[in-house]
Amino acid sequence: MSETQYLAAKTIDEAVNAHSKANGSARFLAGGTDLLVQIKSGIKKPNLVIDVKKIVELNTIDEVSENEFIVGASVSGANLNRNPKFSKLWPGVLEAFRLIGSEQIQGRASLGGNLCNGSPAGDSVPALIAAGCKALIAGPNGKREVPIEDFHTGPGKTVLENGEMLVSLKFPKRESNSSDAYLRMTPRTEMDIAVVGCGVSISIENNLCTSARVSMGAVAPTPLLINEATNIMVGSNLNSEILEKVSRLCMDACNPIDDKRGTIEYRTKVAGVLFKRTALIAIDRIKGN
């Protein structure tokens, strides 16, 4: 790492320009809880590390209109956890984010970092996909928005081009009678990597589901949005038959790896079980239980 230069960018333009000029040899540094470990172990050898935490847009939690949040890409878990409004609107996103590492890690780790690290098992990602969140990206050719379900292109790979930086995460305006949840299966109870993760976001009116999004993590090369789940759930009363049907869909969507932490068969089975449990938590939260 002896060749590495450090730049604390103060504006989006400064960060984007520096990254463009470095031609693929620069890395953005948010909390650093993944990047610094990767650099120390020699997995990544950037010539330039661009610290983005001093850029206002990346470090701000903004309620742009009533119940509509934009969260800066480098906002830490400890910081987001102190926002009572956000945790009320998006308990599933927050619980997914807060599962990542210890309090020390939470003091630094960010949603943007978890997303850009590109792990298929990143805990916050299925919750962000279920939430219908969008990535706001700035680059040499201007700004663009990408739905989180389209952000990853493979393990460790994202849609970000040279010079492009994730600025913030834009959550949709939250309707009343809505909630979300995230559950994961890990061999240990805490501070472990998900064998399967599931995010569910639901709205209910007069006992009928008016919107639903289901996402699975760690069961394919990228986190998945289960599109058909929405079609089956919306308009239904989310009874056990409906949940069973969607549970099957989640299992069918699985294309996991086979490793020491979970076989293909195990991960697939757990995906179905986890969906039902996660959906029931989201439903309970709407009902105020």
Binding site: M1, S2, E3, T4, Q5, Y6, A8, L29, G31, G32, T33, L36, V37, I39, K40, S41, V49, D51, K53, S76, A78, N79, G101, S102, E103, Q104, I105, G107, R108, E190, M191
Partner: protein
């Protein structure tokens, strides 16, 4: 290659240092500033023995570049006692024998302080979850958890 000049505040004192871009905060604390209370055990954010408080947040100083400290306020174990008087947590750790070999202890003390700063009356479960990022291979954790809970109780009584 040119070094980076950093101005920061450590334990309420203004501090300036020169660092390489790749130096971690822990490298500079231990090797340049002679603040060797923070320990390096894993170097990857798993063990918590390098815990410091950065602008009010508990962090691993091994997972932070020294250059990132510009304009920040850091608390390390060296600033915990005041005028030679041990902090209540330090005193209680001694009384309760909440340490054996001592390598993890500075990290546990900083983490416990950060907990009580944020939450002055934690439940036992909250203490155990909060301290889950600090590994101790000697004590079995029970004495540490009890010491933190007793300090929280003492603080309540004296408030």
């Amino acid at each position: 290659m040119s070094k980076i000049q950093i101005s920061t505040k450590i334990n309420d004192e203004n501090v300036e240092y020169l660092c390489e871009p790749h130096d971690t905060m822990l490298d500079v604390l231990r090797n340049q500033l002679e603040l060797t209370g923070s320990k390096e055990s894993c170097g990857s954010g798993d063990c918590g023995s390098c815990s410091i408080i950065l602008d009010g947040e508990l962090v691993c100083s091994c997972l932070m570049l020294a250059a990132e400290a510009e304009g920040s306020k850091l608390e390390t174990i060296e600033g915990m006692s005041e005028g030679g008087k041990l902090h209540a947590l330090q005193q209680k750790f001694l009384e309760k024998a909440a340490l054996q070999c001592g390598i993890c202890t500075p990290g546990f003390l900083m983490a416990s302080k950060a907990l009580l700063d944020h939450n002055p009356s934690p439940t036992e479960t909250e203490v155990r979850f909060w301290l889950a990022g600090n590994l101790c291979r000697c004590t079995g954790y029970d004495k540490i958890v009890k010491a933190v809970l007793e300090v929280a109780d003492d603080m309540k009584e004296s408030a």
